[in-house]
Amino acid sequence: MSLQRLTLRRLIVALIAALLAMVAIMLVCSLLGADMSGGKFSFLSITDVWHGITGHETGASRIYVFARLPRVLAAAVVGAGLAGAGCAFQAVLRNPLAEPYTLGVSSGASLAAVLAIRFGADSTLLGGSALSLASLGGAGLTVYLVWRLGKIGNTLPPATLLLAGITVATFCSAATMFIQHTSSFVELSRMIYWFMGGLDLTSYGELGRASLLIGIGVIVLVLYGRDLNAVSTGADAAASVGVNASRTITVVFAAASVIVGAAISIAGPIGFIGLLTPHAMRAMVGADHRALLPVSMAAGAALLVVCDTIARVAFFPNELPVGIVTALIGAPFFVYLLLREKSRGQLWGG
């Protein structure tokens, strides 16, 4: 009997399975649309789309290339990033209830976004992308603040990091509400729309920029997968097996924050993907982050693509903000998680 462990073969099989499932879901969801003529759903013909792309442009290929594809790709990139970042935050904070926004990244991004809307930067400066640039900047600034506040000497203990994150998040939320209080009705409705998250207005340019940042962050996280295993057992225990916990936490925190900032900049603060995906995948592939991180990313991508498709077609011709769909699915899961952790008496995981 050989030891049950993560082998290259197991890793490759898990990755291929996850990627195949993800691509299949992306393909089906990108072809699926609401039926304009009153029926339930309609599918674009894959051959029409293919012929349109390779030969003469057709109606189907135009819809696919300019509306569906960027949207599905954006959902996949954002979903993968949020799931990866959530998984990483859970490991460094040693807390299964952590998620990408636990340390206040989204609050900072939101504050910057409402400031941009309130002072009209989004409409005058660089158009829509000014809003995404502002939220990216806000996310970066918040992360830096939290990191500085959480640091004790050269160490970055999870507890102080968490406290710093909560403090900064609370301040940003209050400031956001203050700005909202002083805003006009039109501005307010745009802010609320931004908070709910959405992928409907993503351009290829924005998608490219966010994908680059998320891609870099994701590669860093995967390279630190093994060290995250050690860090999740505590700083001293990690040091014993040869892993510098403080350095790992700093690098992973930075990489995950870049991912979250980039994701928020194109999609707004979409909740629950980063919380529930790593949990669901942990039950399937185990706790080893070398497999868990990439598989969670593929699953997060697929999940957000599905949620966004539901948001797009369920109440056609009205579209739901995708954040509502992820929250409606995520909240019951969160409750289930909370009850399970409570019953096991290890809510905070040490």
């Binding site: 050989s2 030891l3 049950q4 462990r5 993560l6 082998t7 290259l8 890793l11 859970q90 490991a91 040693r94 807390n95 299964p96 390279l223 997968g225 093994r226 060290d227 295993n229 050690a230 999740s232 057992t233 505590g234 001293d236 225990a237 040091a239 014993s240 097996v241 040869g242 892993v243 510098n244 942990r282 185990g286 706790a287 080893d288 070398r290 290890q346 995981g349 040490g350």
Partner: protein, 262 residues
């Protein structure tokens, strides 16, 4: 193997370790004992490089443990913290295999067949082989301790530092931990330093006992001699009756009123 010269350490304005100097050679099994708050854990963390001394120096295989890269140091020494709790459902074998992390630096660092071999041997030595596929947080406290010991052994370090390895273990499991420690250190010419409150285990298994009192070493030597000394009684604020079991050379310690002590 390990040398401490004039090591002191303070938390804020409270000095916890005072001017500790000692030398540790090969094949030693040292038990550090002392009352609560005597500075035992802090001293162990100074040895492991998890804390840097405020004064004096610690050298471990000619390296300064506080500044050496952790993966370099991990091949020389392993450290078992007293409190080890997992946030995620790793299996026992996954926890043991973490002991091999120091031997892979690049890429994913997947464990090789040689790593699995080392882990299997360590698990057999610590009698946890049959628990390999169980969840670590689902096995008993004693089994978890033995699994962690297996992690330290499969790391193949020459010095193992253990912080209360037998805390909350029943006598049989506590003895099993020390038996494994003795066997492993003998086989590999390695050494171990264990902080413990169990004076009888120290008396029975240690080759050397060090008594700490208010951060300073007050006694250091063979178990029987050290445990029976006046310095030990003073450090624990209680007398120590030290005897030998009839028909064997097993030393036992019974704490008792000071006036009755030997």
């Amino acid at each position: 193997m390990l040398t401490a010269s004039g090591v002191s350490f303070s938390y804020a304005d409270r000095t916890v370790v005072r001017d500790v100097s000692l030398d540790l050679g090969k094949r030693e099994l040292v038990c550090i004992v002392g009352a609560n708050g005597a500075g035992k854990t802090t001293l162990l963390k100074l040895f492991a490089g998890l804390l840097a001394p405020a004064a004096g120096s610690v050298r471990c295989f000619d390296l300064d443990p506080a500044t050496t890269l952790r993966h370099v140091l991990a091949r020389k020494l392993s450290y078992l913290p007293q409190d080890y709790r997992l946030a995620f459902p790793f299996s026992v074998s996954e926890v043991v295999l973490m002991g091999r992390y120091a031997y892979h630096r690049r890429g994913l660092g997947l464990e090789s067949a040689a790593d699995v071999d080392a882990a299997e041997r360590a698990m057999e030595r610590c009698d946890v082989r049959h628990l390999a596929d169980r969840r670590f947080d689902a096995v008993s406290g004693g089994e978890q301790r033995r699994a962690l010991l297996a992690q330290a052994f499969c790391q193949r370090s020459e010095l193992v530092l253990l912080d209360e390895p037998t805390a909350s273990l029943d006598p049989a499991h506590a003895m099993a931990v020390f038996e494994a420690l003795v066997a492993e250190t003998r086989e590999r010419d390695a050494s171990a330093v264990a902080v413990t409150h169990d004076l009888n285990l120290a008396a029975r298994y240690a080759s050397r006992v060090i008594v700490l009192d208010a951060g300073a070493v007050v006694a250091d030597g063979p178990p029987r001699q050290v445990l029976a000394s006046a310095a030990t009684a003073a450090a624990f604020h209680v007398g120590m009756h030290v005897g030998t079991l009839s028909g064997s050379d097993t030393v036992f310690v019974v704490p008792g009123p000071t006036e009755a002590s030997e």
